[in-house]
């Protein structure tokens, strides 16, 4: 499965994270660009959360950019779920 449209969720506020998702050409896999203010401490964990969620939605051919300002796990998961659903055109508030 791949995103239908470009979408974003979250904010640049402290304790939040912003995700940008856009579809890529067929069979191009995943391109993840993750940056975080706590990359050294939690970068690996953040990457694992993102990968597991993309796996659970069976998403490929996706370009994902994440800018993290120290979000907790429930926030990361919430923002990514919202971005994914928006990119699948399943929810309102979609960047078109």
């Amino acid at each position: 499965m791949k995103p239908k449209i470009a979408a974003q969720s979250g904010t640049f506020e402290s304790s939040d994270v912003i995700f940008l998702i856009e579809p890529m050409a067929d069979n191009s896999g995943r391109k993840l660009e993750i940056s975080s203010t706590v990359m050294q401490q939690f970068g690996e964990s953040f990457h694992n959360i993102v990968t597991e969620m993309l796996d659970s939605y069976n998403l490929t051919d996706i370009h994902l950019i994440a800018k993290d300002k120290g979000a907790l796990e429930p926030t990361i998961k919430a923002r990514l779920e919202t971005a994914i659903k928006r990119s699948m055109d399943q929810q309102e508030g979609t960047l078109k």
Partner: protein, 283 residues
Amino acid sequence: MLYIPGNNPAMIQQGGVYGADSILLDLEDAVALNQKDAARVLVRNMIKSVNFYDAEVCVRINHLSTPFGLADLEEIVPLQPSAIRYPKTESPEEVAELLKIIERIEDKHRLPHNKMTLHAMIETAMGVQNVFNIASMFSRVDAITIGGQDLTADMNIIYTPDGVGIDFARKRIVMAAKASHIDVIDTIFPDVNDEEGLRRETEYAKKIGFTGKAVINPRQIDIIHDVFTPTDEEIRKAYHIVKEFQTNTAAGIGVFAIDGKMVDAPVVARAEYILKLANVTVA
């Protein structure tokens, strides 16, 4: 009761540390229309994960007449927060419809119908007119609240710090709650820098019968607790009254005097209420 915008992770994750009796995660007015989906998912995840300590957790959903209300219920009801707060409640029919949907979702998730309660917000003229039926007809409605900002807008009047425009509504709502034996929460005080004004309004709310007050900033919590918490002198007097009542009742005396003042059933009931607020039992 501390209002926290439902799309602000920093404020939600810190919500439990300020000592509020109740946290109100807001999916309604505090969330922009194009962020309703994001807030709903964030609040769901936060309720599952964040420790709010001793605070009750309530969620204000969007009205069912909006495109968001039903989706809010589908996401939040399975989590069974302490209460759902329903905005702009105008009639018992609306509450009945809301409860029907809540119970359908609870049935789907095999949840009981008697755990999570409902707080009806009264913030329109029609709601004020129908408030007694809203407060009294449903066992799951265990609190009503007045929404001062929306009510003044609905009445086409300007909010003033003296609250004169909503005074009738305040008293009518309090009376409906008292007659229904449920809690009644006063509206927010919007100026977070006016501590004297907040204290004055809170004292007035207590005087006319409100059992609590909503706040929009943690800075307001201490003043509200200070006003609503009985003083040491009040607790001492109440303890003395209840103790004397127990002694006199055992001796078959119904009415007696303390310091020359008559003590009868209503005085005892008031004293018992103060002790309940102070969490004091008479040995």
